[in-house]
Amino acid sequence: MKAARGFFARLLRNRMAAAGLLVLALILAVVLAAPILPLADPDATDPARRLLPPFSEGAWLGTDALGRDLLARLVWGSRLSLAVGVAASLLAAVLGSTVGLLAGYLGGWTDTLLMRGIDTLMAFPYLLLALAIVAVLGPGLLNALYAVVVVNIPFFARNVRGVAAGLRHREFVDAARLSGMGSARILLQEVLPNVMPVIVITVSTTIGWMILETAGLSFLGLGSQPPQADLGSMLGEGRKVLINAPHVAAVPGLLVFLIVMSMNLIGDGVRDAIDPRLRTGLPGKPGTATRVERPDVPAGHDGDAGALLDVRNLKVAFDTGSGRNLAVQGVDLAVAPGECLGIIGESGSGKSVTALALARLVPSPPGVITGGVVRFEKDDLLAAPPGLLRRLRGGRIAYVFQDPLTTLHPLMRVGDQVIEAIQAHQRQAAGAARARVHELFAAVRLPEPDRIMQAYPHELSGGQRQRVSIAMALANDPDLIIADEPTTALDVTVQAGILDLLAELRRQRRLALVFISHDFGVIARICDRVAVMHGGEIVETGPVLDVLHRPRHSYTRRLIAAVPVLGRAKEILRTDPLEAPA
């Protein structure tokens, strides 16, 4: 119930949806009240009063070719059109969702058979199937309704099947089975509630179309038959007197348009209110660089003389619907040329945000850098113009990200992606760039560089993909590589290989490295110094071995105590009095 109230609150906050709701409510109120409104008889003909223009005496909207009152016909016609449209979408929703639910949840042959049937229906261009059905059943409003229902069943079946098939393999469905639930119960209690939003969204986005299509069939003379009139058949009649009396067609058409538009507005609102991704407020498209809003630019500070990267008091926040959350609250870091600095912390500590903020890659909105200085040699990156920032990124400062399957472009050959990195910074002919990629792939120990250049990311293993990412980072001989959990998605044996490679490259090329990880073991293996992050702050910095063996801050001590170490792992089972409950 709380969820339902939240849903309506969100729907009404959406001004467009609220407007749609208002228009539709007005129309509904009028058509529902039709029997008690002082309207003329919609079917009473009067040849003496034919084709009166709007605002005529006794006929506000004028009359049609048979002298019937247009206003009365409009109200009664809308009533009919709405009733048919709503009935059609409910029927299509029930039938289509049932097919989709069964196909998706049962899978196997049921799925194949049902979905082949649906494919067959979809093989007909939308309206054509409706025409074929009307051809068999004969013209008539009810037959038009059946036709529209059949034609719309596939939309529901497909959408629902997709979601249901995804849910079938979800852990909570397995868990329900292990908790003793039978299949029918799982379908109704576990799967259906999770499919419901899709059904609601599909209803709200197709109902306008269904009203439009039934009106269309009537317009063609295949739906409602005289004297019964819906909006479509009124339009059809109006078309015959279009040139002499345009209002006869214009008025019912306008009403169809208003109804469909209000339905579409509501449909969009419903979708936005239900879609969990939009629930927290749709973040805008991320810009090229994180927005910087520094109240005061720290002036005249030259920073650490010998440092390659010098970060002072960096603050990063995220705008949410209810204000600004500070994720990084004043971080100081310095990296000397050729040095490896590790940043360690648990999820939510702000370590990844810090790493991304250095080259202003935090998506903005919602991210904002609210203070500090990021000095790379002489330039303050937070004040750098877009051109300079672009030249530095991938040029002298390169990134390696966590999961290379999502961080490489899925539709580009990996060789081309590395070539692009080269050509973004150097004028190089295609041939020379290819040769360079070959060289880079050899440097990161990829076997058969020529074959791998031609591969797409999904054709490579996780370790190979990460080597490609590293090759891409090396493309323009950077001075600094920022690696954000580069081995977290990998198996330990693969991780060991990547760590060895990074360590070796660093020595050979005098690379400075900022290495983000949640794993003390990984940091200890590769870094000179480590900064421990907690709650958006650096609580402790120092040489790795010092921090590991003589942690000064209580959080660092707790963190190290919680890490199981091979050979003495059982120590973590002893309750640590320092530890706070979860």
Binding site: D119, A132, L220, L235, V256, K285, H409, P410, L411, A421
Partner: protein, 315 residues
């Protein structure tokens, strides 16, 4: 790639079978004596006897289906009694007129929709985005049969800029220029809804893609903003947009029925509506079959383009 196309073709077999069954059922399910229904007012005893012999209408349904399928495969769709000519000739003639109209509309809708969607996404929440969003909302809510009437009233009746209806001028017509001239209003009307749907989808697909990790990677390696939008984001967004263009082709083909009625375009939609009116069942059957089969082939094409774009789709 050839294996993929072949695989897709094979996967189409059950769909084509289902399709032929549905089309066949149009005739089989007509209430009453099928021969009477097909012939209508031409149902002389000789005609009834001949058609029963030709189509096997006096035999069991499976036999009827096989007879019918055999005829279809050899290009014999029967004879239209209301028009007194072979169904296939009439259908092909009418279908080519529809293809011109629907093809023009689909091209127009795709170009407009893609452009509007990209602009809208790149300038999200800007003025251009708001204008496009508003136009799309109007576009997808307009009943095309009504829009067509309004456009005729304005452009043809009031301003006399464009022809009211038809495919060629009645006197001295013919030729490409004349055709294009007559095509402007109906093709535009038909394109409006599809353009709106494509624009809306392109926008949301672009926005979705621009949030992906690989776009961040592109920015991190210093790719220019134009490269990010066109080389990286658009390419990935097209993977979701192309199937929608395929689906819109079906809506455009179907929607052509209204437009052909409004603009008196001599296409297959108009023919079908008339044939339903005169109960010329063989004509309905032939028309539905030809349009649906071509639509299936068009979707095969869309799948192949999709596969060319996305190597992750397995053969």
């Amino acid at each position: 790639m050839p294996a993929y196309v072949l695989g897709r073709l094979l996967a189409l077999l059950p769909v084509l079978f289902g399709l032929s069954l549905i089309v066949f059922l149009i005739m089989a399910l007509i209430p009453g004596d099928p021969a009477q229904a097909i012939l209508g007012s031409y149902a002389t005893p000789e005609n009834v006897a001949r058609i029963n012999r030709d189509l096997g209408l006096d035999r069991s349904l499976p036999v009827q289906y096989l007879t019918w399928l055999g005829n279809v495969v050899t290009g014999d769709l029967g004879r239209s009694y209301s028009l007194n000519r072979p169904v296939l000739d009439e259908v092909l003639e009418r279908f080519s007129a529809t293809l011109i109209l629907a093809g023009a509309a689909l091209v127009l809708a795709s170009v407009l929709g893609l452009l509007a969607g990209i602009v809208s996404a790149v300038y999200q929440y800007g003025l251009a985005d708001k204008l496009v969003t508003f136009a799309v909302l109007i576009g997808i809510s307009l009943p095309s049969f009504w829009l067509g009437l309004l456009l005729i009233l304005l452009f043809a009746v009031r301003w006399r800029l464009l022809p009211v209806s038809g495919m060629y001028a009645i006197y001295g017509g013919g030729g490409l220029v004349d055709l294009l001239w007559h095509l402007i209003l109906p093709a535009t009307t038909l394109a409006v809804v599809a353009a709106g749907v494509i624009a809306r989808l392109t926008r949301s697909a672009m926005l979705e893609v621009l949030r992906q990790d690989f776009v961040r990677t592109a920015r991190a390696k210093g790719v220019s903003e134009r490269g990010v939008v066109f080389r990286h984001a658009l390419k990935a967004a097209m993977v979701t947009v192309i199937p929608v263009i395929g689906i819109q082709a079906g809506f455009v083909l179907g929607g052509a029925v209204y437009i052909e009625t409004v603009f008196q375009w001599p296409g297959i939609g108009r023919m079908l509506v008339d044939a339903i009116g005169t109960r010329d069942i063989l004509l309905v059957q032939g028309g539905v079959l030809v349009v649906a089969a071509s639509y299936v082939l068009f979707n095969l094409l869309a799948d192949v383009v999709q596969r060319l774009l996305d190597p992750r789709i397995a053969a």
